[in-house]
Every structure is written in C-alpha cells, then in structure tokens.
C-alpha cells in the first residue's frame, strides 16, 4: 500500500465543491446554535467544500476574545475558531453594523476576519450555493 492512501485522498478531493455559507446570529452560550454551527462547519470543511462563515447580530459575540464560561459551567469552545485556519476555513465575515451596535471593533475578536457592511454581506450571500442560518 505504497501511495494508495494519498491517491485515494486526491480522488476524494475531486468531488463536487459547493459554496456554503454558515450564518451565525446568536450569542455563543444560552442556546446550542453556535456550537452546532461550528461542528457543521468543521464537518463541511472535512468534505473539502468551499466554506465561509458570516457573523451578524449577537453572533459577533461568538468571536470575542477572552470568553470565560466557568460561572455558567459550559465548555468554552471559542479556541476552536482559531483551529479553522488549519481546516482551510479562512473566509470569516463580520458585519460592521452588528459590531458597531455592540461597541465592538475588529481588535476585540480572537481570529482574523473581514469586516463588511450589511450591503456587502448581502452580496456575499447572493454568491453562495447554500446558505445555512444558525
């Protein structure tokens, strides 16, 4: 089984690639949406799809630095957003208006993102094959 594994990997990569956007609108804790979204993102990336993430409304809180969940006794999964780069998920869009409304700036976020206006976000969504909201 010399190079067969790598050949199989290459063949698997040759499947249909769709543009998926996952739209995150909810705060990271209190509901399961943010964590579920992240899991689906990781699975989609494992299937070599073109994945991008959008963060709007309270969804921008998912990316805020320095999250501490001790008091609510749930896992702090925010470090996982930093793993996305290793999964080749590098398109993270954050809506400018949502950040501004919450007194946040790009410097408050734990990963590099592209801050875009609501109008630009609409165009990005228009360009997708699949948009899934969480």
């Amino acid at each position: 089984m010399t190079d067969t594994r790598d050949e199989i990997d290459a063949e698997e990569g040759a499947g249909v690639v769709k543009k998926f956007m996952f739209v995150n609108r909810k705060a990271p804790y209190g509901t399961i949406y943010a964590l579920e979204s992240l899991e689906v993102v990781l699975i989609s990336a494992a299937f070599d799809q073109d994945v991008s993430l959008a963060f709007l409304d309270d969804g921008v809180y998912q990316l805020v630095k320095g999250q501490d969940t001790k008091a609510i006794e749930v896992k702090n999964f925010s470090p996982t957003y930093r793993a996305l780069e290793g999964y080749d998920v590098e398109k993270l869009y954050v809506e400018r208006e949502s950040l501004a409304a919450r007194g946040l700036t790009e410097d408050d976020l734990l990963v590099p993102v592209q801050v875009v206006s609501a109008a630009e976000m609409a165009e990005l969504m228009e360009a997708q094959d699949v948009v899934i909201g969480f």
Binding site: D6, F77, T80, A83
Partner: protein, 110 residues
C-alpha cells in the same frame, strides 16, 4: 462501557472513548492501546502527545487531514503523511490515536 486500569474503573462511551478527559494518564493510554492491538513506541507517543497538545489549544480533536498537515508542519514531511500515520494507527490516525490520547472522537469522523 468502561475499562479497568490499575484497579480503577473508567467510564467510556460505546466505542471505547474516555468519557472524562481527566481520567487519562500514560498508563490509561497503554491500556487502551493494548485493547486496540497497538504496541506503543516513541513514534506513537509523539502523535498521541501532539493530539493532546492540539486539543488543549483548540478544544477539538482534529480531522485526519488537519492532523496530517499539522504533524508535517511540526515533525517534518516524513511524518506528516497518511502512509506513516496509518502504519502507526491502522484504524485511522485521528480515530484510533485520539482514543489512546483520551480525547473525543474527531468531529466529522464516522
């Protein structure tokens, strides 16, 4: 399900992954490896320790493709390839090595 290590009973899920990450020790790893028919060598430990560090930093177990790439980056291309990793862990480097490392099954692994 559970496993017995050094007189202690440790809870596992139905596939043999530890339920409590904090139950893990090198002794536990050796015991899980034995059940998997993996004879742990320095090369096996290198991957297991790498996985634990990865989990510690990112709070997830990496998918196999991500693991392979990350190992290559850290330990060199002769180790960062599927062939090398599957020889160490025949049932899948992410799946089997994560079990030995006491981590959850990687997300996206079926």
């Amino acid at each position: 399900m559970s496993i017995e290590v050094g007189g202690r009973t440790l809870e596992t899920d139905e596939e043999g992954y530890l339920v409590n990450l904090s139950d893990w020790s090198e002794e536990v790893a050796n015991e899980i490896a034995k059940a998997e028919n993996v004879a742990m060598t320095e090369n096996h430990w290198e991957v297991v320790n790498f996985l634990r560090e990865y989990y510690n930093e990112y709070q997830i177990a990496p998918a196999v493709r991500v693991l392979t790439k990350a190992i290559g980056k850290k330990l060199g291309p002769e180790k960062g390839n599927s062939k090398y990793l599957y020889e160490l862990f025949p049932y899948g480097p992410a799946k089997q090595a994560c079990k030995i490392a006491g981590l959850p099954k990687p997300t996206g692994c079926v």
